[in-house]
């Protein structure tokens, strides 16, 4: 077999595989839209569940999930970005920092249910927040912290050293170099990490199971010390442990569709912001 045929066959295999991957994704998305689109209407999006969760809408769960996204982002983004700036721009490459880096990677590999247990023990019980938005947000925040740190570090590393040196050579301090050169250049890539972490937060069920999620709570939260319903947990409830599973099946797909839509909307708006930022650069 000559080089050209070999290459042709190899590329053919690659092509088939990538089409297959995209196909699976589109199939899942299409399936959920097909099954769920029927139940989506204004009422479904704006009212509380009724009749033992066999009717009504999912408004409290949407609000709950948005609260958790906001809460965990407020906690994890500043903390993650700042510690990544420290480890990649200031700390050098000593033993302690290498150890911290390895631990961060390990943290990223811990199953999310473990974070749930940890959050329950620390935030719910020891710190006395009870089942609440704040306990859930902190737990989810810790869950995505390694992701935020890693992607921010990578984004900072991608900034050419020549620009840092150029800035320092003009008499800028290290802090000025980070805030005026390195961080703005890395920001679009940092945002990619933030988007990923929002997707993760909105979809996780295990960490919120013992820390915030309510089985049925038609009332909206009044403060961050209240419990909320959340989309992934609600989906689980009406899919497997509701009062009438057959009746709620379409609602489960509807809920899944809303969850996907929220993540999609956040992704798209974030990448629009990203594009705008890159244009200005």
């Amino acid at each position: 077999m000559n080089k050209k045929t070999k290459q042709g066959i190899a590329f053919m295999i690659f092509r088939i595989l990538s089409v297959a991957v995209a196909g699976i994704l589109f199939y899942i998305l299409g399936f959920i839209i097909y099954q769920g689109a029927g139940v989506i209407n204004i009422e479904f999006l704006t009212s509380s569940p009724t009749n033992g969760m066999t009717a009504g809408g999912i408004f409290p769960a949407i609000v709950g999930t948005l609260c958790l996204i906001a809460g965990s982002s407020l906690f994890a983004f500043p903390l993650g970005i700042l510690s990544a700036i420290y480890t990649s721009e200031y700390a050098g490459n000593g033993k302690v920092i290498r150890f911290v880096r390895v631990m961060t990677n390990n943290l990223a590999g811990i199953p999310s249910i473990v974070f749930g247990l940890f959050g329950m023990s620390l935030f719910v019980n020891t710190m006395g927040f009870g089942d609440s938005i704040i306990a859930g947000s902190l737990t989810l925040g810790i869950l995505v912290l390694p992701l935020v740190i890693r992607t921010t570090e990578e984004a900072l590393k991608a900034v050419p050293d020549s620009l840092r040196r150029g800035s320092l050579a003009l008499g800028a301090s290290k802090l000025q170099t980070v805030s005026r050169i390195t961080l703005p250049i890395a920001f679009p890539n940092i945002m990619t990490g933030l988007i990923l972490s929002i997707g993760r937060v909105s979809g996780e069920t295990a960490p919120i199971l013992f820390t915030v999620a309510a089985y049925f709570l038609p009332k909206l939260p009044q403060s961050m010390y209240d419990q909320v319903m959340a989309l992934p947990y609600h989906l689980y409830v009406i899919a497997v442990s509701g009062t009438d599973l057959e009746a709620t099946r379409p609602m489960a797909y509807g809920t899944a569709l809303v969850l996907i839509a929220i993540v999609l909307i956040i992704n798209v708006s974030a990448s629009l912001i990203r594009k705008k930022l890159q244009k200005h650069a």
């Binding site: 050098g92 620009l163 040196r165 150029g166 320092l168 003009l170 008499g171 000025q176 250049i185 650069a281």
Partner: protein, 248 residues
């Protein structure tokens, strides 16, 4: 103007500069030549303490600018770097507008007076022989400029902070011949206001633009004299061999 006394510099265990003594006069162009890895760039970076950024390095001896030891504890490195502009081998404009690139050094210095900054940017771009080419597009990204223009922008950026010394580390090695000759002309005009030290691989360039030339080899300053003398009648055999192209 610039002076070193018995300077030794180490990267870890590697002895990169050996007992270097030099006196560089003000308002002149001094070129450092020598084979790759001879220490000429390392030596250049001593004068704005950019070597400080490299971990595990060590310096002995004295390094003076206008008689002041720049490695003394009381020296503020950012103040030192404002007095010693640097131009790097590859143009490294910031991903900002042309105007903001030149204004950067002023802004990090805490200057916010708009008309002062605008004046200084214009002056600097004029001194760097770039003003006529960019005056209508100051708000455009610096990346829209050609490589040669970018390098002159980097020179303007260094001039904006009004340094007395300009260090250039092979400033034309990534440029085409026309851009190179523009940079060389520029160096020639700048020397009446600045003390310029340039590292170059290109011996014709050193011969064309410099008043004094230092030849480095294996971390030693083999010979340092008037450029004419170095190129026409060097006193050391190594220098003779290098400039005639027998090695390097």
């Amino acid at each position: 103007m610039l002076e070193t006394r018995k300077v030794n510099f180490y990267y870890g265990d590697f002895h990169a500069l050996k007992e270097i003594n030099i006196k560089i006069p003000a308002n002149s162009v001094t070129a450092f030549i020598g084979p790759s890895g001879c220490g000429k760039s390392t030596f250049l970076r001593l004068f704005n303490r950019m070597n400080d950024l490299i971990p595990d390095t060590r310096l002995t001896g004295e390094c003076l600018i206008r008689g002041e030891n720049i490695y003394h504890k009381s020296v503020d490195v950012s103040v030192l770097r404002k007095k010693t502009g640097m131009v790097f081998q590859k143009p490294n404009p910031f991903p900002k507008t042309i105007f903001e690139n030149v204004a950067y050094g002023l802004r990090v210095d805490g200057i916010s007076n708009r008309s002062f900054i605008a004046d200084r940017v214009e002056q600097s771009l004029k001194s760097a022989a770039l003003w006529d080419e960019v005056k209508d597009k100051l708000k455009k990204s610096a990346f829209e400029l050609s490589g040669g223009q970018q390098q002159r922008l980097c020179i303007a950026r260094a001039l904006a902070i009004s340094p007395s010394v300009i260090l250039m580390d092979e400033p034309a090695s990534a440029l085409d011949p026309i851009s190179t000759s523009k940079i060389e002309d520029l160096i020639h005009t700048l020397k009446k206001d600045y003390t310029i030290v340039i590292v170059t691989h290109n011996m014709q360039q050193a011969a064309r633009i410099s008043d004094k030339t230092g030849f480095f080899m294996l971390g030693e300053l083999i010979e340092y004299d008037d450029t004419k003398k170095i190129f026409l009648n060097p006193s050391k055999e190594e220098t003779q061999n290098y400039i005639t192209g027998r090695f390097g």
